[in-house]
């Protein structure tokens, strides 16, 4: 049966970092509309730094939990901001979910989405409808739970989660922000996408594609 190893973690983060680099200027633009225009730098910088740290520690005998803890602290220290603590919590929870092993069965991956969503909600006290990244992560976790209950294949579940996240992100356009920097704009925040939700949807899309690619690999 297919597994997810510490080496796969490095590979996955390389993909996530590339995707965030590709989205950087779009995210900056979105954040300029209702925030401070730095969400692109934060996501690209944070995931880039985490990917490099994982790459450097690759082959050092780390468990998945250790790898994700390294990713969390690296991302946090590279970025700070709001994104840093939120994704650091998410990655620490993901590490706890995968545990002290250096490889796990592939079907543990949907649980990572659920764990990350929980980490973000716990750290930021955000709720769906606040117009934050929770509006992408929460439906994604919901879809993952539903997929697991239905006994779907891991890659398929991740794709469903990515779809749910994208829809959730798009729904933020109609929302008035209740948390984060955009909340200060009040009604002026309506009509704009939340950058954190958009980047979350992109991460989940990238995760699903990466898993699909693994499925196709020999």
């Amino acid at each position: 049966m297919q597994t997810f190893s510490r080496h796969d973690l490095t590979d996955l983060f390389r993909s996530l970092a590339e995707r965030m680099a590709a989205e950087q200027s779009y995210l900056a633009e979105l954040d300029g509309e209702i925030g401070d225009a730095d969400h692109g730098v934060a996501m690209a910088g944070g995931f880039g730094a985490a990917a490099r740290a994982l790459f450097d520690a690759d082959g050092g005998g780390q468990t998945l939990a250790q790898g994700l803890s390294l990713a969390a602290s690296t991302l946090l220290n590279a970025v700070g901001a709001t994104t840093g603590p939120l994704y650091a919590s998410a990655l620490l929870r993901a590490g706890q979910a995968l545990g002290d092993e250096d490889r796990v069965p592939f079907d543990r991956l949907p649980g990572v989405v659920i764990a990350m969503a929980e980490g973000i909600a716990a750290r930021g006290h955000g709720r769906p409808g606040d117009k934050t990244m929770v509006d992408a992560w929460s439906p994604a976790a919901h879809a993952a739970r539903a997929g697991l209950a239905a006994g779907m294949a891991p890659a398929q579940i991740l794709r469903q989660a990515a779809h749910a996240a994208l829809e959730g992100a798009q729904a933020t356009r109609a929302m008035m922000a209740a948390r984060g920097r955009a909340a200060r704009l009040g009604p002026r925040s309506i009509g704009h996408l939340d950058p954190g939700a958009v980047s979350a949807a992109a991460l989940l899309d990238c995760l699903a594609s990466w898993a699909e690619g693994q499925g196709r690999a020999p």
Partner: protein, 336 residues
């Protein structure tokens, strides 16, 4: 928009390096923490330590407010991004004189989370930490949601009050209470004529038409609460003063300290023109002015715009405001 930059991603580290060189007698590095600095004449045994910090792009904020009578250490984030917990912890350790450490920073979700984590880490090491989150930006939320407001240029006054209290060797709870009081009596509002430009893209964070101005902006290139047609300097001042007076509700004979602050690209000539009208309005309300800071104290990259802060004084705050201090951005010998 053109800037003097090397690689944008190096800008913050290069700024810190340049600041350490420019202010050799006042600022010192903290070993092992490149994004934290301490005051040369900072922590001393028995004194409450004052740690400030936040994102970069506000120069001379925050490192400009390190020194005797002001803060003891600073944690420095990326541009407009809260610093992570590690430099905040390093600053806390450097500021610690055994009497506890006071954290003061503006109310932004990132700063709150990162300082919170750092405070937990410091507490685990046996350092007592108290936190004051500044919320002086009256445009950023209604008065009944004061705790949701942003902390902006009023930081400068809150740092000063707290720094003076610490320098007078007052206990941690008292220093925190005074800082809280200063924050509660601090009212700021900003107006932008042009947004600042991102270091990465060189592009403005939002667009303003040639006849528009943006009212109630923050200090991260965020939009404000409303867009309006460009007005005269006097009318722009009135827009700000009306709201400040509305909230402050000064009694005849009350006194304030003023900060007329450039958000980056606005030159000092314009600040003086605004100050003239500001004083006319205050005089008409019977409000006296004890001290005025005017210049570039808390910026938002190269945003063209201004913020006005009024600190509603009482006798204790006045005495602390007049306490001497010696920092890169604020040096005073005593009474104004």
């Amino acid at each position: 928009i053109k800037k003097f930059l090397n690689r944008p991603q190096d800008a913050v580290n290069e700024t810190v390096e340049g600041a350490l060189l420019a202010h050799q007698g006042l600022l010192a590095p903290i070993t092992g923490a490149p994004r934290a600095l301490r005051a040369v004449d900072g922590a001393r045994p028995g004194k409450v330590g004052l740690v400030i910090g936040g994102g970069s792009g506000h120069e001379p904020g925050f490192f400009g407010y390190l020194g005797r009578g002001l803060a003891d250490a600073v944690a420095i984030g990326n541009v407009f991004a809260a610093p992570p917990p590690d430099p905040i912890l390093a600053a806390t350790l450097a500021a610690d004189g055994g009497a506890g450490v006071l954290h003061i920073f503006g109310n932004f979700s990132g700063d709150v989370m990162n300082f919170e984590t750092a405070a937990e880490m410091a507490t685990a090491r046996g350092i007592r930490v108290r936190t004051v989150v500044t919320t002086d930006d009256i445009a950023s939320a209604p008065v009944d949601a004061r705790a949701a407001r942003r902390g902006v240029a009023g930081n400068v006054f809150v740092f000063k009050i707290a720094g003076a209290a610490c320098d007078r060797m007052l206990p941690l709870e008292t220093c925190a209470a005074l800082a809280l009081r200063a924050n509660a009596r601090c009212h700021t509002m900003g107006i932008a004529l042009e947004p600042g430009a991102s270091l990465e893209s060189g592009k403005p964070s939002f667009r303003l038409g040639p006849d528009d101005m943006e009212i109630g902006v923050g200090v991260h290139g965020e939009r404000g609460i409303a867009r309006a047609r460009l007005t005269t300097a006097d009318e722009a001042t009135d827009l700000i003063v009306d709201r400040i007076l509305d909230e402050m509700r000064p009694a005849e004979g009350d006194r304030v300290a003023l900060l007329v602050n450039s958000l980056g690209a606005t030159p000092q000539m314009e600040l003086y023109i605004l100050n003239r009208r500001l004083r006319q309005r205050l005089r008409a309300r019977g409000v006296g002015v004890h001290r005025t800071l005017i210049g570039h104290y808390y910026t938002s990259l190269d945003m063209a715009g201004v913020s006005i802060t009024a600190l509603h004084l009482d006798d204790e705050l006045t005495a602390l405001l007049d306490h001497p201090c010696s920092a890169p951005a604020w040096t005073q010998g005593g009474r104004p």
